[in-house]
Symmetry: C2
């Protein structure tokens, strides 16, 4: 009897797929890829959008420097190769979350178009939404919530995006969030309304 | 007016934490770390347990070779360093899923005790559940669902766990699933019952 059982390693319950998880959650998984300068408002808006979605009974999760740089990517530095690998891993992890049915916000400067495009290429159409959190350097430097611009101007941070390293603006982002001309509340509402209009807050049909 | 708005990048909506996501999902996030030989039944049981949890309205997700080796870890080979890095990254990603509130099953042989212990160390107590999917080499070789043992015996796969590379059994796993003496259905029921008894299928209190 045990012999017979031992050969039985096939399950007949039917495989679960992404759509099943999405139906449970009442939403569609997607990666909402925030890009923009330091101080543009990426993390603030991502965290607040997560809160707003939760209020509506939807599951979102923010990937940012706090939970990625000190964990998964702690063995990466700031060389060009490491920066590219940093973004690649974030893209792959975001893809796994998307597959699980979660709405994942990635909150990283991700200054290079090529890196963002490489991340996009990992995804099926509609699963990757590039969102430009737009504010110019002067505005971001004026906010300087972490005092990083001050340090960069003092030469204490080499290759600081917007000061001594380039930021390549998105050419065809799915959404532009102009944080110079609207409040955080308005920016959050814009992001959530966008997701709602595009159907991400509804379960897949069928 | 725009000037004033531009400096307002603080959100007053209150931060969302793991417990909020878990309440939405009606469960507690955790990493259920399956370990065992090739052919022991890890993936079969993980996939079926996910299906069973979904039936109960709980969100689970399986990380396995299919979605990790060809994505996040595609730049890793099979050297000792790369094997260790492979397990490290899986641990870090599983931790992110756990933080998001998802019940994540990792389905990898993960033959070395030190690597599994390193993964465990990433987690808070109770967030990491090591589950030994137990079957001896003879049984697994008899099943050989992917024909890998045959290839390993023919010398076509170097350092094959159980044949030409060691498997270090867990010393204090949270659960042992004896797949030689019970059916897949019984193993799945055992895993789900364990999660239920330990409270993972309930939302956190408070």
């Amino acid at each position: 009897m045990a012999e017979q059982k031992a050969t039985n390693i096939t399950w007949h319950g039917g495989a679960i797929g992404r759509a099943d998880r999405e139906k449970l959650l009442g939403q569609k998984g997607a990666t909402v890829w925030f890009t923009g300068l330091s101080g543009s408002g990426k993390s603030t808006i991502a965290v607040a959008a997560e809160a707003e979605l939760l209020k509506r009974g939807r599951l979102a999760y923010v990937l940012d420097g706090d939970n990625v740089r000190h964990g998964l990517n702690k063995n990466l530095g700031f060389s060009p190769e490491d920066r590219t690998e940093n973004i690649r891993r974030i893209g792959e992890v975001a893809k796994l979350f998307t597959e699980s049915g979660v709405l994942v916000f990635t909150s990283f400067i991700s200054p290079y178009r090529a890196d963002r495009d490489s991340a996009r290429e990992l995804f099926e159409a509609g699963d990757f939404l590039e969102v430009y959190i737009e504010a110019d350097v002067e505005t971001c430097e004026g906010r300087d919530p972490k005092g990083l611009y001050k340090k960069a101007r003092a030469g204490e941070i080499p290759e600081f995006t917007g000061i001594s390293a380039p930021y390549e603006e998105p050419e065809k982002p799915e959404l532009v969030v102009p944080t110079q001309s609207q409040t955080v509340e308005e920016s959050v509402a814009q992001v959530v309304a966008f997701l709602e209009e595009k159907g991400y807050l509804d379960a897949p049909k069928g």
